[in-house]
């Protein structure tokens, strides 16, 4: 296992590259989902306002 993590001494290059790439994949999903939630909440507010003063 530790041999795998060491990557013949290149672990300090390989793993940060993977962490950055996978982190970016995760972050994009997280932000996209949050944006969708926010957009839904805003649309609800807009509709409620339209109902109050049409």
């Amino acid at each position: 296992m530790s041999e795998f993590l060491e990557m013949k001494g290149y672990g300090i290059y390989v793993w940060p590259a993977y962490v950055i790439a996978l982190g970016a994949l995760w972050l994009n999903v997280w932000i996209a989902r949050r944006q969708l939630r926010t957009a839904r909440a805003e649309a609800r507010r807009r509709l409620a306002m339209l109902e109050q003063n049409p």
Binding site: K8, V14, A17, I20, N28, A32, T38, A39
Partner: protein, 247 residues
């Protein structure tokens, strides 16, 4: 040929529902492919004779760079269609491509730097491939900045679409930079006239990762475009129905 099926995508309710139905599937398939690609790339692929283990960065570096150029191309095409035929959903799709594209352009540059240090002996060099890819990042950032700086949505759509189309010139320059100029960056491994120059054991995880990134891109683009469609909607019964269902 009957094009009515295509026209339906121009309608915000149709697109919103379609995207909501398909985005989870695209994301799910991309996760399955990603796990397979990571296992293949990190565990099953053999060690490289010249670069030892460090070459494994290729399995995140190349798919990121590919996703960057693919999302730029789709962004510019969607923006162009939106500009020419005045289809608002297309501008929402173009806007949905930009953030993922920008972040993976950055990831391709950063993972390239991490790869460059042990193999080239430098983090950064003002090389045609690296500089043209940096320009892709600037075009993405410029596109997003321009959109957010213009209050009126239609004007923001039009101005940012022009910028996106202008920047499309840069995409083939990135791809061919390693052939046209003397570059430290290696020539293409996959898209060569004589076929991929990689043994199958190393190649398949890369192709699986590229597949994973493709499905991932579509999922993110659909999710972002949905949010953008919602932001543009000013009422309407379909919206009321959708929001009631989502609650």
């Amino acid at each position: 040929m009957n094009w009515t099926w295509l026209h339906r995508f121009g309608s915000p309710p149709y697109f919103y529902r379609f995207a909501g139905r398909w985005a989870p599937w695209f994301l799910g398939i991309s996760i399955v492919l990603l796990l397979a690609g990571l296992y293949g790339g990190l565990v099953m692929a053999p060690v490289d004779y010249y670069q030892s283990e460090v070459y494994r960065i290729i399995y995140v570096h190349v798919p990121s760079a590919y996703l960057a150029l693919m999302s730029y191309t789709w962004m510019a095409l969607a923006a162009a269609i939106g500009l020419i035929w005045r289809i608002k959903v297309c501008h929402a799709i173009a806007a949905g491509c930009a953030p993922a594209g920008a972040s993976f352009t950055a990831v391709s540059l950063i993972t390239g730097m991490i790869w460059g240090e042990p193999t080239w002996g430098t983090w950064w060099i003002w090389d045609p491939r690296l500089v043209s890819q940096l320009f892709v990042l600037f075009f993405f950032l410029g596109y997003m900045a321009l959109r957010s700086s213009i209050e009126d949505r239609d004007r923001a759509d039009r101005a940012s679409a022009v910028l996106a189309i202008v920047g499309l010139v840069n995409v083939p320059i990135v791809h061919y930079s390693v052939d046209w100029w003397n570059s430290l960056h290696q020539a293409p491994t996959l898209m060569r006239s004589d076929g991929p120059s990689m043994p199958m054991a190393m190649l398949w995880p890369l192709l699986v990762m590229i597949g994973a990134y493709t499905f991932y891109f579509v999922a993110i683009m659909l999710m972002r475009a949905r949010a953008e469609v919602l932001r543009r909607e000013r009422g309407g019964t379909w919206l009321r129905e959708e929001l009631a269902r989502a609650a």
